[in-house]
Symmetry: D2
Subunit: 289 residues, 4 copies
């Protein structure tokens, strides 16, 4: 799908605007109806938040009705003609290629879930394995109806967000930066070489940045100005070379010659500041604020 810019989206005629965003919510144009009048949106995040707010503002009957508008995760559903978005999502999870045994297993789990909650099992399945789908369904099948209603709506948040990203380019506010702290020397991990890789599902990986941390152990924003995409990235740090420079002998620095931190960008309008606490024999990775 060719993506339009947010500026273009903001400038479309109202009906064209709503035609773009209506498919975000499965068979539920009411969720996005009238949003055209609230333009311009400064970000996809803002637009999405407004739509999600409406969904949560619906009463319980409205929420149930909305959830019942979703197809089952099932090979049979794929044959029955569902929305193009649902079709693509289920295919990315391999639902269309299930053998008869697995399909029967999935259908049985779906039927039991539907009987209990009166709406089909909903999960953001893009690039998720069938095993994960079954594990999640098993777990959620024992939840209380109220808790499960919320859980299903949270998955709708993800599904609709990814569908929005399929159609419109995000605002250029996002980016990735890093900060390495050396907990042996109790200071910044300065002069450390690293790379940032993009790891798309399916196809091959590509290096999108090369950096050397500055005096404070930081590498400045990479993939800013709209270059950040939703998906998986991997930060690679050349720890062995760094430790060699710190005077650590080959024997002592041999455990983690390189450190790779793989993380998922769900919202490319956000900034991802990935921190690594580094010692000779351990490291900790987390997202900073």
């Amino acid at each position: 799908m060719t993506r339009i810019t947010l500026a273009t989206l903001n400038a479309l005629p109202a009906d064209a605007f709503e035609a773009v965003i209506a498919p975000l919510f499965e068979n539920a144009p009411w969720v996005t109806a009238g949003l055209a009048a609230m333009r311009p949106f400064a970000s996809l995040t803002a637009l999405h938040a407004v739509a999600i707010g409406r969904l949560y503002a619906a009463d319980d009957a409205g929420k149930h009705s909305f959830l019942r508008g979703h197809p089952m995760l099932s090979p049979a559903a794929l044959l029955r003609g569902i929305t193009a978005d649902s079709m693509a999502e289920q295919r990315s999870a391999g639902i269309d290629g299930l053998n008869a045994g697995d399909a029967a297993k999935l259908d049985a789990a779906n039927t039991a879930y539907l009987a209990r909650f009166s709406f089909p099992f909903i999960l953001a399945v893009r690039d998720v394995s069938v095993a994960t789908i079954l594990t999640a369904m098993q777990r959620r099948s024992t939840a209380s109806p109220a808790a499960e209603l919320l859980e299903a709506l949270r998955e709708v948040e993800v599904i609709s967000w990814l569908r929005l990203l399929d159609r419109v380019l995000p605002a250029s506010t996002g980016g990735i930066s890093t900060h390495v702290l050396d907990t042996v020397r109790t200071g910044p991990g300065a002069g450390l070489e690293g790379e940032l890789w993009h790891i798309p599902s399916g196809a091959g990986s590509s290096r999108v940045a090369h950096f050397v941390t500055d005096k404070s152990g930081r590498a400045a924003t990479m993939l800013g100005d709209g270059a950040l995409m939703a998906g998986i990235y991997e930060l690679r740090l050349e720890v062995a070379a760094y430790l060699a420079g710190m005077g650590v002998s080959t024997l002592d620095r041999s455990l983690f010659p390189s450190v790779s931190v793989r993380f998922a960008v769900m919202n490319p309008e956000e900034h991802f500041h990935v921190l690594v606490l580094l010692s000779n024999g351990a490291y900790t990775a987390y997202r900073g604020r």
Copy 2:
């Protein structure tokens, strides 16, 4: 090089035995002379420790003389006819392919180092980059002579150890195991799927094990019985599927969908127990004992 077994090594005639191990130490047959009489060795670790013990037992003049028996890390040295082991090691670091500018830079650094310490710069360079060599040399050039003598000998430990592994298969005492602790639920990370990959330098990676952690969060020994090799391994944990099973919604589990811990096995006769402390938004990796 085809490797012989430790049993075969222990059973060789004394002169053949010493012919195998003499090249471990560059131009210094005295380090390993007479070791045949101490056989059988239960492990390469034991054999190597005896040889290294002799090296450290030499007086300062003996140590200096030994270190002076090593070639420079230099394209010129490669032309001059050095031992086959040194040749292979320097080539793996790309010394033979340096352009004229970099070669001159390396030679200048080598000459300055030699002038200060009266022995050539020694580093275990197998699969190490030229940048790392230069960084290490720059750092070590400012050390005191006594400290640098020790540093050089520690590198000899690594060099001779890797040369021994080139010739003889290690005892089958090593292996890799893992243990995942879930710090959100304050308990074992049970039922977590993962894989173990071998990442050889140069060629492609290969999956060597697939596992699911048991009730205590552990995966039992992989690559035991002699299958463990010196080199890089990577542990991959399917965190997203695990968290989905724990009832964590897609939104909350999205940061680290998988966790990869890459680590180096220097001594394949050791056991590597790799632990991961896991929460939704951070993880810590280290080697346990």
Copy 3:
């Protein structure tokens, strides 16, 4: 309250046995009725699990009725004559000493909660501050009725467990041990001196053990054989002395001269294995398995 042993409890006449355990559950003798016939219990953990299992097995009406048998957390409740256990618990949280303003605030929050869920707000308040009570109530007031029912029952698990511990000495299966890993030297934190302190609420602390970690970095079980109590313990590690022994200069080891890990023992029949990952400039504490 003088506590009896588990052996004594197991040997009591049935009516005496049930008189001991009936007060565990507020105004609900049915939860523990008939448990005498299931004796002997090997542990308090087993006895408690059976009672809790009955509670969860009740239908929703039964659970609601049970929860409605609890008093409000309120100074007014204290005057109205509630069970001795509830009285003591509320006093430990300072409910009896609230000034008029805070009491009114608490009562208003209680009334709103009761109106929404039709049972009073229940929290294990022993030694908890009024601020924490209000924070928890504010948060839980927005939960779904189904989720909040579960939440209240989980608090009952804690309340009844602590009441059981008030009456009967736990089985002697518990204890505390520790393991220190040195992530700078990538090995055990051996020879590290430490102490274990008991930190009772109110009164002064007392040192209950002194230890030196062994070669593997471990200190063996302390407070075994029934000496472990429910409550707060603190592990103190003499890091500065350890690092001095490792050859770290005063300047480099100065950040964390000692490391104290304070943790709560809820179930003294369990073993608490507390691990510390230690480097010069960072440490991580967690409970191992």
Copy 4:
């Protein structure tokens, strides 16, 4: 000792200025001679760096001579009339109260050390235990002469720095701040109450600040404007109350009800930013940059 301000020090007549700082270096007025001409100093850090730079600029003979000007750590030395500073430092470590057996042990170790290195064993002993002194001496006794010379000078850095702080108030550039990251919710640990305590050696502790972390999980600078002192501080975080507010039930939040991080301020002109990564069942503390 009443401390003067840095402004006062900068304004003193040259001979008075040098009389203040000469005792920083044991029996070695040459280290600080002439520093008066370099005034004003913007900080004690700057003044000290200049003096230390002179010490390191001395040749090896000069350094050895300087180190030989130090007294032994020994009860006998205390009787023989050493400088008042050395006297106070050794007393704080309990050297004056050693029994005959321990004193003999210490003297024997000192004599062996002196024989090997030709200067007495030097350690910054303020508030350090005799056990730590002996451990450090044992370790350092096996170092190379060159390495040990450096080690001794690094201890002199600490000793002279603490003596400077005894005499002059530091510049008001230091302070303590904190930042809590919640790794369960992958975001800031906001609204978390905590306290900062000062833990002087000997006397009782005192609470010096109370704080609640802001939306970003931070607490702003405490003890700024010259209120920070060299010594031990402890940060205490009320984790149980925070988790209760996050909707974590009593059972799940029971492991670490509070987290205390004790750290040493060596240079009160620096800013100490102490970070805590927090999950239900683990935490990591480190100093940020």
